[in-house]
């Protein structure tokens, strides 16, 4: 309840700021992602990171004398709403977007942005297909599933060495993409994958699936998807005495999985981007988040910060909000950001991005697995 209130207050505050500051010249940046819906907490991560960057850039004098301004759009992680949001962004005359969050939302929205000359940087969407269309204005400051999948698979092969593996996914672009990539890597390494199955996102009962996992004597499960389903799978597995090791991508790595699964979340493995908030050179930034009572540990907070910073740097270098020139500049430059020195390849993906395997604990904390 409080989060919704916070969002409402946030929205009305940004609306008020919009009214108050309209006299001054400013550059608007659309922050698109889920404000509502089951994965809104990931939207939060992205919003607080981007807003912090905007605030700090404005404090330091803005960009070429102009202030940046955040305008939040809610796509609820729904592809249909995402296209509506994209059209609204275009109609509102905004040329810069940080977002969207869910790959299935980013993909349709990116078509519209590319056509309308809007520069988009996603700080969270990891599906490889987003940057495979040869678009010039679509970038991302996060790693790809095609990197994360093989990374997870490598950990499974090297460190876990399971006997019988099941790969489960939620039949959505993000989850199934990851699961497919993990499965093909495991197959290549000769790991015995006995099951590859999809579940329906939004389902509450996984007893039949768990019965099957038990019968197949599975000792390791990779789940491609988000935390609401995996949380229930973990919880019901525990109740039914199925005790395999579970692993998931960053989509399951947030404290809500502990709220849902409780004790059963102990020992879950999660691949996450490096914890940028643990990096000593980001200590000031972490302190700034803490001062605002915000949590800097979310996986997308710092990538969103970097996305805004890259936009601001490019505007400075180009001299105006000329998205084509900015895109050219971005492909040719290495940016020094809190997430490291970032350079983009021709597709708009980062040239380098590293993941870390974490072990989740029943109290919601996590530790890096060496």
């Amino acid at each position: 309840m409080t989060t919704i209130k916070k969002h409402l207050i946030g929205l009305s505050v940004s609306a008020m700021m919009l009214g108050a500051a309209s006299a001054q010249a400013e550059i608007k940046i659309a922050l698109a992602g889920p404000v509502t819906g089951p994965v809104a907490q990931y939207g939060d991560m992205q919003f607080i990171g981007a807003k912090m960057a905007i605030e700090q850039i404005n404090k330091a004098g803005g960009v070429n004398g102009e202030q940046l301004e955040a305008v939040v759009y809610d796509d609820a992680c729904d592809p249909k709403q995402a296209t509506a949001v994209a059209n609204k962004v275009v109609n509102d005359g905004i040329q810069l977007v940080v977002g969207h969050l869910c790959s299935s939302s980013t993909e349709p929205a990116s078509d519209i942005y590319e056509d309308e000359g809007v520069l988009m940087i996603t700080a969270a969407s990891t599906s490889p297909t987003i940057t495979e269309k040869g678009y010039q204005l679509v970038f991302r400051t996060i790693g790809l599933d095609s990197l994360q999948g093989p990374f997870a698979a490598k950990h499974v092969v090297d460190a876990i060495k399971p006997q019988r593996v099941a790969v489960i996914h939620d039949k959505q672009q993000y989850g199934e993409g990851l699961a497919t990539s993990v499965k093909s890597e495991l197959d290549k390494a000769g790991v015995n994958v006995v099951m590859f199955e999809g579940v329906t996102s939004g389902d509450k009962d996984f007893s039949a699936l768990i019965g099957k996992l038990k019968k197949e004597n599975v000792d390791f499960v990779y789940y491609g998807g988000y935390h609401p389903e995996l949380g229930l799978i973990l919880r019901q597995s525990r109740e039914k005495g199925f005790n395999a090791k579970f692993m998931g991508p960053e989509g399951v790595g947030n404290p809500d999985i502990t709220a849902i699964a409780g004790e059963a979340s102990e020992g879950l493995l999660v691949t996450l981007p490096n914890s940028f908030d643990q990096d000593p050179k980001n200590a000031d930034l972490v302190a700034a988040f803490k001062a605002k009572n915000e949590d800097p540990s979310g996986a997308f907070v710092f990538p969103a910060y970097s996305a805004v910073q890259i936009m601001a740097d490019s505007i400075k270098a180009v001299g105006s909000v000329d998205t084509d020139a900015m895109a050219k500049h971005m492909r040719a430059t290495t940016f020094s950001t809190p997430t490291g020195d970032l350079a983009f390849d021709a597709k708009g993906d980062l040239k380098e991005f590293s993941f870390v395997v974490y072990e989740w604990h029943a109290d919601g904390s996590k530790t890096a697995v060496k």
Binding site: T36, G231, G241, D256
Partner: protein, 308 residues
């Protein structure tokens, strides 16, 4: 061999558990349809509200230091039934009664609107994230050899069956034996004539909504405790499944709703078990299409005779 049998039994138990809760929700659809020939699409949302109320009551009692299980269970059951019943009553009064006597399509659209309203109302007041609760009733029995396949039956599953059976039996008695039940049956046969004979049909219809909503709250409580998770969107899928169960069994028929629910639950579990969980909805809904092709009135429904 034994392993195969245990596996089958396990999946059957899983299916029966899901099926009984489908059946509980399906009764609400079928009762309303039986009497006024309208599909109350907001019914799934009542179920969702029932789960929320259950969680709030349990959290509130725990906060006050009351953790005795029978007490908490009873309190949660009574409060969620009462709240859901008042929602059922209010919905009928606000969204359906003013449209009575108009074409059925109007009430149907009104029902869909009410469903969207309730979903978003809960989303705004409770937040859109999953709210989780630790399991109150844990443990169960296991059968078979732990080294091969072990079937398990949790206490919670048994509670779900028992409560479902008791509720169904009570409802059947109410419909067949009580004065109000007789009025319900009369209304379902001929609404206009019942009115002429001095029964206030509006009251009977209101009663139907109240009873249906209270049953949905029972399902909300049971499933809330079983899965331990709720969000504002659970009502939609549950409502869809329950509606399917009601149609499968023959909409308007109470034993039909029970049969339809169990059949749907077992079909889903068996498809997941022997085929793939990806296809469970495909198989379940194909079954619905097949039944409707050959028996449009459902398994236990009565063929509709056009009244002249």
């Amino acid at each position: 061999m034994l392993e195969q049998l245990l596996y089958f039994v396990q999946q059957l138990l899983n299916g029966l558990t899901i099926g009984s809760t489908y059946a509980l929700i399906a009764i609400g659809y079928t009762m309303v349809y039986g009497i006024i020939g309208m599909i109350n699409f907001a019914h799934g949302e009542i179920y969702m509200i029932g789960t929320y109320v259950t969680f709030i009551v349990i959290a509130g009692l725990a906060y006050m230091g009351l953790e005795s299980l029978p007490l908490v269970f009873t309190a949660a059951l009574l409060v969620s039934m009462a709240v859901a019943a008042s929602y059922g009553f209010a919905i009928e009064r606000v969204a359906y009664r003013p449209l009575r006597g108009q074409t059925r399509l109007l009430a149907l659209i009104s029902a869909i609107g009410m469903s969207i309203f309730l979903q978003n109302f809960v989303r705004l007041s409770q937040g859109s994230r999953d709210i989780a609760m630790p399991s109150l009733i844990t443990g169960g029995w296991t059968f078979g050899d732990p080294s091969s396949f072990e079937a398990s039956l949790s206490y919670m599953q048994v509670i779900i069956w028992v409560v479902t059976l008791v509720t169904m039996a009570a409802l059947t008695l109410f419909i067949t034996r009580s004065k109000w039940g007789r009025a319900c049956r009369a209304c379902s046969q001929d609404l206009g004539m019942t009115n002429l004979l001095g029964i206030n049909a509006n009251n009977v219809i209101a009663l139907t909504f109240v009873v249906g909503a209270a049953l949905a709250a029972v399902a909300g409580l049971l499933l809330g405790l079983y899965y331990g998770v709720v969000n504002p969107y659970v009502g939609f899928i549950a409502g869809l499944k329950a509606f399917t169960a009601a149609v499968l069994g023959g909409i308007g028929s109470i034993p039909g709703a029970m049969l339809g629910g169990l059949l749907l639950g077992v079909t889903e579990a068996m498809t997941s078990a022997y085929f793939s969980s990806e296809y469970k909805d495909v198989v379940a809904f194909s079954l619905l299409v097949l039944v409707l092709l050959f028996r449009p009135w459902g398994l236990l429904g009565k063929p509709e005779v056009e009244k002249i």
